[in-house]
Point group: C2
Chain length 549, copies 2
């Protein structure tokens, strides 16, 4: 059971050792840890197999549903993890892994994480977290001031106030969004006369008391899927997450927003929140936040901004103007595990008004007593780890100007890549990067001309074939294991809203170089040739279109 033993036995004495005797310096686990500490990228490059093994094959190693009836030596198990798990995990920190929002981590976070885990605090209450509680409140305060820039007096008064909360630290953006909409919903139906408030009496009685026929949340078509989940969980229903049209830049149409708000009102449906997006997941665009705020004020509803990914841009004095109006939001979601370069599991929601969360406050006799500063009285989650420490440390070690450099670099790189794509005669930029995210596809010049000139069925047929090709390239590229871009489906205005599958690239990794980006295109160009049947169909259709002109 412990690596020093000769035979694995299950007795209490040897069991106690796993709680008291660390792995020796010669143990497999320590050696692996050391190598990983020394050069993480080298370690991962060495241990993650490049070529993808089909999931069905990987699953064979994870098929046993019975709990092991005999212990395994730590060293043996570590080797097993290397062979079956690490080898088939995803190299998310690789500079050529530019398909998702998970990027490289600063080195100092690895040992700090270990300290955080060894301390094993539980942030739900002071008794199990002590100094971690004011630390987390400070981190929330810092993010609050990054967004809202209130006075020193404001923070002196509210940051550590037992009865108030500037926000909540949570496992991720989804919980953050749910928390924001939970607060919005509860504040929209407060206690009134005989009615004790929606938190006490639920939606059914709330709507009856206030004489409404329904509840709605508005967000553009590009809203994150977590909002639908939120509408479901909160008892509002997915249908009641109303999609507002977007313009050619994937930003919310203000006219349509206004129309929908008025229409809902006249149908006696209460809009509890409009969600503005500061960096859509698919295209990286930012809604006109100031204008949405005005609409929300006019219609008296909560304004939430989902800046899970784009919120980090506030760190950049050069680019933060892109999010102008965010300071007018009632609540904002920011994920630290995205562009704040923190390990997975660090989301936050901030509320402008320190009283906002009162409507979701809860207490219990054994913990979270009234008047205590226990963080658990204002969070959707209960027991939580001390992840806030990693944000706190990164804020201090990197500092705001450091983050600004990282953000600016990402935007510059996206600009470079967009220009690079535009210059190719066999690629097409689909969405221009507003932040560090862009989409494009492979489309040789001749095919593009044909697609532009084609009409009716042929146009759609050719586009469908191109979708197949994009899908083929993306999948094969992932399987090759050299680089990774993601894909999504858009309806670009330049192609009359035809359903278009595109490559999607996020350039947040500071280690990604221009050469890597050039190679990504070269590789895609090469892979495109490896679909003979698809290419044949495309060629044939292009010829038909050309001949019909």
């Amino acid at each position: 059971m412990v690596s020093q033993d000769k035979t694995a036995k299950v007795d209490f004495e040897s069991l106690l050792r796993i709680f008291t005797v660390p792995e020796g310096p010669e143990s497999t686990l320590t050696q692996i840890e050391d190598r990983l500490s020394l050069n993480l990228n080298e370690f991962l490059k060495e241990h993650i197999v490049a070529e993808e093994k089909p999931l069905r094959e990987i699953e064979k190693d994870f098929n046993d549903s019975l709990l092991p009836e005999s212990p395994t030596f730590v060293s043996e198990h570590t080797q097993h993890l290397l062979d079956t798990l690490v080898s088939h995990s995803v190299h998310t920190s690789s500079p050529s892994f530019i398909g998702h929002m998970t990027s490289a981590l600063p080195y100092f976070l690895m040992p700090l994480s270990k300290i955080m885990i060894a301390l094993n605090q539980n942030l739900v209450k002071i008794e199990t977290s002590k100094a971690f509680t004011p630390l987390e409140r400070q981190v929330l305060g810092m993010l609050h001031s990054l967004i809202y820039a209130q006075s020193d007096d404001f923070y002196a008064k509210w940051m550590h106030s037992a009865q108030h909360s500037l926000g909540a630290f949570c496992s991720g953006g989804t919980i953050a969004n749910i928390t924001a909409l939970w607060v919005a919903r509860n504040n929209a139906f407060p206690a009134n006369g005989e009615f004790k408030g929606i938190e006490q009496q639920g939606i059914f009685k709330a709507l009856k008391h206030y004489d409404y026929e329904g509840i709605a949340i508005l967000v553009s078509e590009r809203g994150h899927y977590s909002l639908k989940k939120a509408a479901d969980v909160l008892g509002i229903g997915r249908e009641s997450l109303i999609a507002v049209k977007t313009d050619e830049n994937n930003k919310i149409c203000l006219d349509d927003l206004e129309t929908k708000l008025v229409e809902l009102e006249s149908n006696r449906i209460k809009t509890i929140a409009v969600v503005g997006i500061a960096g859509t997941t698919e295209t990286g665009n930012i809604d006109p936040l100031e204008e949405i705020a005005k609409q929300c004020q006019k219609h008296q509803c909560h304004f939430h901004v989902d800046a899970a990914w784009g919120g980090a841009t506030l760190m950049s004095n050069k680019h933060r103007h892109l999010l102008a109006g965010i300071e007018l939001a009632d609540s904002v979601t920011i994920d630290a595990h995205k562009q704040l370069y923190i390990p997975m599991g660090a989301g936050m929601v901030l509320f402008k008004d320190p009283h906002a969360m009162a409507s979701v406050e809860h207490h219990a006799a054994y913990i979270l007593r009234k008047g205590s500063k226990d963080l658990g009285s204002h969070s959707l989650e209960g027991s939580r780890s001390g992840m806030a420490m990693l944000v706190y440390s990164s804020m201090h070690i990197i500092s705001r100007p450091g983050y600004e450099l990282l953000i600016n670099e990402g935007l510059d790189k996206a600009r470079f890549f967009a220009d690079l794509v535009s210059k190719q005669d066999d690629f097409e930029l689909i969405t221009d990067p507003e932040l560090c995210l862009l989409t494009y596809r492979y489309i040789p010049a001749r095919v593009r001309t044909a697609l532009e000139k084609a009409t009716g069925k042929n146009k759609h047929k050719l586009n469908e074939l191109l979708n197949g090709l994009t899908q083929f390239i993306q999948k094969r590229q992932r399987e090759n294991g050299l680089s990774f871009v993601s894909r999504t489906t858009l309806t670009p205005k330049q192609w009359d809203g035809m359903t278009t599958i595109v490559f999607r690239v996020v350039l947040a990794n500071p280690l990604t170089t221009h050469d890597i980006l050039k190679n990504v295109l070269n590789e895609q160009r090469e892979i495109a040739k490896m679909a003979p049947s698809l290419n044949k169909q495309i060629d044939a259709l292009v010829s038909t279109i050309e001949s019909e002109l």
Copy 2:
């Protein structure tokens, strides 16, 4: 910015180094990490200050709401963390910290956690987690088989099925409970005729369609506070979490449950779930699960078991009979960060029926495509870390028989401590341990006799004074920093249901010895003497009561 630098500067080159150059072996951070790896307890004992500093004082170190405008050296910041954070954190792994459910961790989890964090997988989808996805599904399968013991065929068919799910891994028991009740709610109001299902159309339309006046969830008075939060979030309302009476052993009264079920039905209120508790947070008792299951079957409602803490007892062949009937539950919550000795942030909910979660399934174009095995399509959370790896490793390294020893040891120790308390003439056992949790209080023999004989106002007054004394002892003991027990408020039948503040002890730490337990009582006895004014009042009242007899 990196420790090797002479001066901290913010340029992109030095910024890149924090992503590429690890902390050197001589750096403060590496040295701290090494010392922590070598002897965690010693490290914590050395660095956590024993005597408690008032929270107000600690907060002074966490008061700045502005983001740092210049970077800090890693070494300097590490020292700062030691001085301000680590020193005032809570020594949760200390063998004399027996007040909460957070205990010591096996040593091998520290390096494994670092590997998990360095890999930085995102379990929301295969593309960012690959082998971690089948691994997590296997962990859920193992827990499922621990509870439900289905056939090999069952697990071969469902464990890795894209369209199905045996449960969800989540950040903790609260999210697990919310998920279970979300599923229960959605399954109670399925699509029917024109009605598209509660997940689509929300609670208001669901109740109207099915002609109900409300929704209820039933749980005993000892239910965890997270259930109230769940009722609020889910739009049901906290009032609709109906508290069922408990008997003298803090177990749910089946008669009262039946009465309430019938009453709700006759009022056209739909009970979507009854929650059985397998290890109440305050007293550690287990509800009669088999009988609750029968009632649920009779009334056709979802049976959820909150075994967040007690579920680990299933690992013990000797004691698992205490949870008999759990295999009849539709869903079960188990926290791995409690008695499975995993770091904070590892909860799970298991569903008996692999189809149960279909009603909360969701998809999106860019991820979670239909037919994919992405775990995110069945979870309340979105982005999630690879915590399941730590559960997987512990299952293999400790194995079921190893866990059994840990569980049995905890129960034996609780028995020992209960007997020890009972033998003292100045302590009183309030609740006998069914698992490894018990409650007691300090009450000298003479005071006890007086309390037994007293009547009316004096009885309550004396009990109030004792409550004050218990509170005083618990607080002072925590402040002294030598040991820690928690406290809660009960209404014990042996004291005619008088509101009684008690010490609460959880004996899960395998390093806690009998001597430590004896010392806890001795320390409490000593502290009791340090409240002269309270003692004087108690003495005076006891004399009055004695003279009146």
